[in-house]
């Protein structure tokens, strides 16, 4: 149980770091546009032409 005397302060330090990182992320505008980035992972970015998917409708799938 004595290890808690070490772990609790460590957790406080981690929380502080977490808050500072969050503040940096907010200030640098990373939360300004939540719509685009949420979807961007779905898109192929640099492939010149996405491979056609045979037998699949091109949309609404």
């Amino acid at each position: 149980m004595e290890v808690l005397y070490l772990l609790i302060p460590v957790s406080v330090v981690l929380v502080t770091v977490g808050i500072l990182v969050f503040r940096w992320a907010v200030r640098s505008g990373q939360y300004d546009d939540l719509d685009t980035e949420a979807h961007s992972i779905l898109f192929d970015d640099d492939g010149p032409k996405p491979p056609a998917e045979p037998g699949k409708s091109p949309r609404h799938d």
Partner: protein
């Protein structure tokens, strides 16, 4: 043939014959030439993934006409390019911020980025899908601003150079602060709960870790209270000074009492602290506030997009530059603004003219200005070109416009929230009085327990749940509507909506598509119907007039006609197989010898019109065109009538048989046709007097005054900017179904707000006697306070999940 189909590009439902085209063996159907062209560009660029990922329909793109292409020529000028942009990161490159109209979902931003990046000379593109702004960095040696704007235009997006005003920077700064406040409270709440669990269940006061955990909780609560909850205290002090009891007062009171009592217990010893409750409550309130704020932010962005139409260049009357970018104007510059354009900066008129200030004041009648009169940025010049001496730089002027729009959208508190304020303040005043009385009794009866009992009562009656009840329901409802493509710009409308008894519709563009469709063809014996249609379609393909779209569904080989000439307001002429063909008005298509056959002299209804095709001045064919009803109109009217028990009326300026037919077909009553804008307002007010609150659904410029007069106004997706700016609700998708969604969600919001208030007050009334009699231990009280808030939030979140 009239079967319904959905356009594969814009997603609109139409009836008639679609244009079809094969892409890699897959047949696609389109509603118009514009959609087909854009889809072709997207397909050629290998960007078909766009269609898979988009989740909102698009606006219907217009075909780019030669005249419109020419209007971009100014953007090729190096001097103008450098005036509008600033130096990019790489030496020699330029960077510009653009406002892009037509973005409907995240897939649009991807499409724009991908399509632009393939233009040689583009170095960096970044599109923000929330604010609809794009940052573009390019090499002026390789391409010009005109290329960039045209490349966006060919995809159907209209881009305007934009320099963000101070007010907007301020707005986004506020959002960021708010977000950080919420995040901090969230982290604090989680940490505190983790620290509190052992003290709830396993540890007893006096044990080793007990005090340590409590002190840590205290430490973590301090930043949450001082930073995250700061606005509540500021507002509460302000309201107390102005002698108003708003919801912020009990919130601040609850927070400071819970924190003060916990600190007292921490120092003097006691069984229970409430630091976790303080953080959690702050977090819940901030979450609902921030949902509301992000929706209001969207409303401001949309309104600003509609409002931003200042011409990028202004003709200068003084100085060495003839054309100056509007953003570069300085006080003292003398400029000329042509009729129909918006005034770019506040100034003093130098000549007499007429301006429309509806955007600023809501007054739609044009105002006469005399030399020396003040003119506000954002007004439209109506008649004669206005000469103006600039008084304030456009940045300051634009700020004023933005602030105006923002204040409209964020009109501090909606009526619903004010109602909650009233209930809470009445309730809180009484509870406090009661607690004082009960406290007095306990001091007399058993002074050792008095503090514990008073504290339990304060915690259990904390108005947290009550103060969350309405904001939570409202913000959940607003975001559900937003996802369904309905943007509420004035939350007050939500309170009025469930009481609305009459819905008045405009006709053209609201109940009808505002697009012409062919309903009949008559041909001379010299030509077959099919051939006449093909020639007509081949010619109309070169025109951007709405009539031309009526021929957009006809398949044809590319170069059927040559030597095409488009004559504005009259028609199109072209060469085909050695003959001159003309299509358009009878006077245009036919010469004096080629009069219409006598059978052609019959009357038409006003929503119909005829287009005549002539060969070498002789009559060949007549096409009858008609605007068609929206496919969903009948369903929407029926559901409003049955489900909402509303009366549905038609208010239209159209005085034709067709208007009355539409009214009859849809079962509208009363059907009022041939109304001037003033008569529309009068009729609307008369309806309001006899039946109750009125909702107006409209789109046109003429609808702005009648929309302002209605209790709730809804503007269609394709509405004029003016109508959008004056509307309470914007439908972001080109469908009337949004109206149904709006009324049903508004009703649900009211129901859930009532349930929440009932729950919060009921819980307090039940728990209070137990607390007063000393049966409730403080930890049960704290649990009750948290759970009651949680119930309210979860109940409201049912709204966000509603799908129909």
């Amino acid at each position: 043939m009239s079967t319904d189909y959905i356009c594969d590009h814009c997603g609109a439902r139409s009836n008639g014959q679609p244009i079809t085209q094969d892409f890699d063996g897959q047949s696609r159907q389109f509603c118009c030439q514009g959609c087909q062209t854009v889809a072709g560009i997207i397909h050629a660029g290998g960007l078909d993934a766009f269609y898979r990922f988009r989740d909102q329909p698009l606006n219907r793109p217009d075909t780019l006409s030669a005249a419109e292409r020419d209007s971009y020529a100014l953007y090729r000028d190096p001097a103008i390019q450098s005036q509008l942009s600033h130096a990019g990161e790489r030496p020699g490159s330029l960077e510009i911020e653009l406002l892009i109209r037509g973005i409907t979902c995240a897939a649009c931003t991807w499409l724009i980025e991908q399509h632009l990046k393939r233009l040689p000379g583009i170095e960096e593109v970044w599109v923000n899908g929330t604010t609809h702004r794009a940052m573009v960095q390019w090499d002026p040696e390789t391409c010009t601003l005109a290329d960039i704007l045209l490349r966006l235009r060919e995809l159907g997006y209209e881009a305007l150079p934009y320099s963000p005003a101070e007010a907007e920077k301020h707005l986004s700064e506020t959002r960021r602060t708010q977000l950080f406040r919420m995040g901090l409270a969230g982290i604090g709440a989680m940490q505190n709960m983790m620290l509190a669990v052992p003290t709830y269940f396993s540890l007893k006061p006096g044990e080793d870790f007990f005090e340590l955990l409590r002190w840590l909780g205290f430490l973590i609560t301090i930043p949450v209270l001082l930073y995250s909850a700061r606005p509540f205290f500021d507002n509460a002090f302000r309201d107390i000074r102005t002698r108003q009891l708003t919801m912020d007062v009990p919130v601040a009171l609850a927070l400071s009492l819970a924190f003060g009592a916990s600190t007292w217990i921490l120092i003097n010893g006691g069984t229970h602290t409430y630091f976790d409750s303080v953080c959690m409550f702050t977090f819940f309130i901030l979450v609902s506030k921030s949902i509301e704020q992000s929706i209001q932010h969207r409303a401001v962005v949309t309104l600003n997009e509609s409002a931003h139409q200042a011409p990028a260049f202004v003709e200068c009357l003084t100085g060495e530059l003839k054309w100056k970018a509007a953003a570069q104007l300085q006080p003292g510059d003398k400029i000329r603004i042509p009729a129909g354009a918006a005034v770019p900066a506040d100034g003093r008129a130098l000549n007499a003219s007429q301006i429309d200030e509806a955007m600023m004041t809501g007054e739609f009648m044009p105002r006469d200005v005399q030399p020396g009169d003040e003119v506000l940025a954002g007004s439209l010049v109506c008649h004669t070109a206005l000469e103006l001496e600039v008084c304030r730089s456009p940045d300051d002027s634009q700020m004023a416009v933005l602030e105006h729009l923002a204040s409209r959208a964020q009109s501090s508190k909606s009526r619903l929230v004010r109602m909650a304020d009233r209930i809470a303040s009445l309730f809180v005043a009484r509870i406090l009085l009661l607690i004082a009385v009960v406290g007095g009794f306990w001091i007399w009866y058993d002074a050792s327990r008095a503090f514990e009992v008073v504290l339990a009562m304060l915690v259990i009656t904390c108005p947290c749940a009550l103060s969350l009840s309405i904001p939570a329901a409202q913000s959940a409802g607003l975001s559900a509507l937003r996802r369904a493509g309905v943007l509420v710009t004035r939350p007050d409308a939500l309170e009025v909506l469930p009481r609305v008894r009459v819905t008045a519709f405009d006709k053209t563009g609201t109940l009808t598509l505002g697009r012409f469709q062919r309903t009949g063809v008559r041909v001379s014996p010299d030509i077959t119907e099919e051939e006449a249609l093909k020639i007509a379609a081949a010619m109309e393909r070169f025109s951007t007039h709405p009539i031309a779209r009526a021929f957009g569904d006809i398949q044809l080989e590319s170069s059927l006609v040559q030597g095409v000439e488009v004559v504005p307001a009259r028609g199109v002429s072209a060469l085909h197989e050695g003959h001159i063909y003309r299509i358009g008005t009878p006077e245009f298509a036919l010469d004096s010898t080629g009069a219409l056959p006598t059978t052609e002299n019959h009357s038409l209804t006003a929503s119909q019109l005829e287009v005549v095709l002539g060969r070498d001045g002789r009559w060949l064919a007549t096409f009858t065109l008609q605007d068609s009803l929206r496919p969903e109109a009948a369903e929407v009217v029926a559901r409003l009538q049955e489900h909402d028990q509303m009366q549905c009326a038609l208010l239209t300026g159209d005085n034709s048989q067709a208007a009355r037919q539409i009214g009859q077909a849809l079962g509208l009553s009363p059907v009022l046709t041939g109304l001037s804008p003033e008569e529309k307002v009068n009729q609307l007010q008369a309806l309001g007097k006899t039946h109750g609150p009125v909702m107006m659904v409209g789109d046109g410029l003429n609808d702005a005054p009648v929309m302002a007069a209605a209790d709730v106004s809804v503007a269609m997706n394709e509405a004029s900017d003016l109508a959008k700016v004056s509307a309470d609700v914007l439908l972001l998708t080109p469908s009337l179904m949004g109206v149904i969604r709006l009324t049903s969600v508004a009703r649900k919001i009211r129901r859930i707000a009532r349930q929440n208030i009932g729950w919060a007050i009921g819980y307090n009334l039940v728990a209070l006697p137990f607390a007063a009699s000393g049966w409730v231990t403080p930890w049960i009280a704290a649990l009750g306070m948290s759970v009651s808030s949680l119930v309210v939030v979860l109940n409201a979140s049912r709204l966000a999940r509603t799908q129909e």
